[in-house]
Amino acid sequence: MISLLLLWTSAWAEQPLSFDLKSSELTYTVSHLLKTVHGKSTEAKGKGRCSNLQSCEFLIAVPVTSFVSGNSNRDLHMRETVKGALHPIVSVRVTGALQEKLPLEVELSGHKKMIAPQSLKIQKTTHEMQVSGTFVLKLSDFEIERPSLLAASIENEVPISFKTTWTVH
């Protein structure tokens, strides 16, 4: 009985880890008949914690206004389209085991959706962790009306690529 107790406490005593987002680059790609546009943000904030490697929680959030595409009219239109004044923050939450098949809970424009990443790469060193990958948002999943120009709307699928560096405590 005592040996069982010792076995359990040694597993539970695995050192908890916490993570702080050190740097990030998030890019969305919007495709239209006449043009492809990329908007980038480097102003995400994030934290993560793992009580053990099977039980982690990460939250990364970025202001809608921080995405720039090089055209202020387009950025303002994007902000209006995703209702950025009512929902100024886009967030991604991840819970579960720290592995490369984590589903992402994306919150955008007041709606939440679980999305499986297309690719996800995790590289760990002693004090840092790099997480990069891509996933695809469908604007219709978030009830976002697709802008149009000359009777042609933008594509419903919006690929998002991200590169993040976390410090590990």
Partner: protein, 182 residues
């Protein structure tokens, strides 16, 4: 006592297996976002929607203006046989100033910095075709009056074609830069 120990151990296993934690989920405050950064601003959303509507209408009337200008230039050769050039020209003028009004009254949220080479060119060219679109109908009326009364044309009237042509070219150039980088 023995039963109590078994119960405690079983309970602890159960709690660890379901990942029991008293900690609440991470939220935006934990990341350092302030209430100011996360607050909803319905007035701003309305202003953004108004801006989008006006700029969309500005695009449509802008395209219409361009088409009317091209038509007016095309009809200029028959100005002495009928009034089509004048009517289409007047329509182009009306459409032009409607387009201008829509752009000028589209709300600009506080703190917006104009960004994009095409927007800068588009705005700079309005200082060329704007004054020319004021001079064009004036020159047109003067030229028409001179023709009607068989009087010699003044300086402005005699340059009406050049003024109107330059207005059309700079206007269309300003429209095209927006089409390439929208």
């Amino acid at each position: 006592m023995h039963k109590l120990k078994i119960t405690l151990i079983a309970f602890s296993f159960l709690m660890s297996s379901i990942g029991f934690s008293a900690e609440p989920k991470l939220d935006l405050k934990d990341l350092g976002f302030t209430q100011e950064q996360t607050k909803k601003d319905p007035e701003l959303q309305l202003a953004l929607e108004s801006r989008s509507s006006k700029l969309k209408a500005h695009q449509i009337t802008g395209i219409l203006t361009g088409a009317l200008m091209i038509a007016a230039v095309g009809l200029s050769r028959s100005h002495d046989r009928n009034n089509n050039h004048q009517f289409v020209g007047a329509a182009a003028g009306l459409s032009y100033w409607t387009t201008f009004y829509l752009a000028q009254t589209a709300p600009v949220p506080e703190g917006t910095k104009s960004q994009g080479w095409n927007i800068k060119i588009h705005k700079a060219l309005q200082w060329v075709h704007g004054p020319l679109m004021i001079l064009t109908p004036i020159a047109g009326v003067m030229a028409n009056d001179a023709n009607k009364h068989h009087k010699p044309k003044g300086t402005l009237a005699s340059r009406k074609s050049a003024i109107a042509g330059l207005a059309a070219v700079t206007y269309l150039a300003g429209s095209l830069v927006m089409a390439f980088e929208f």
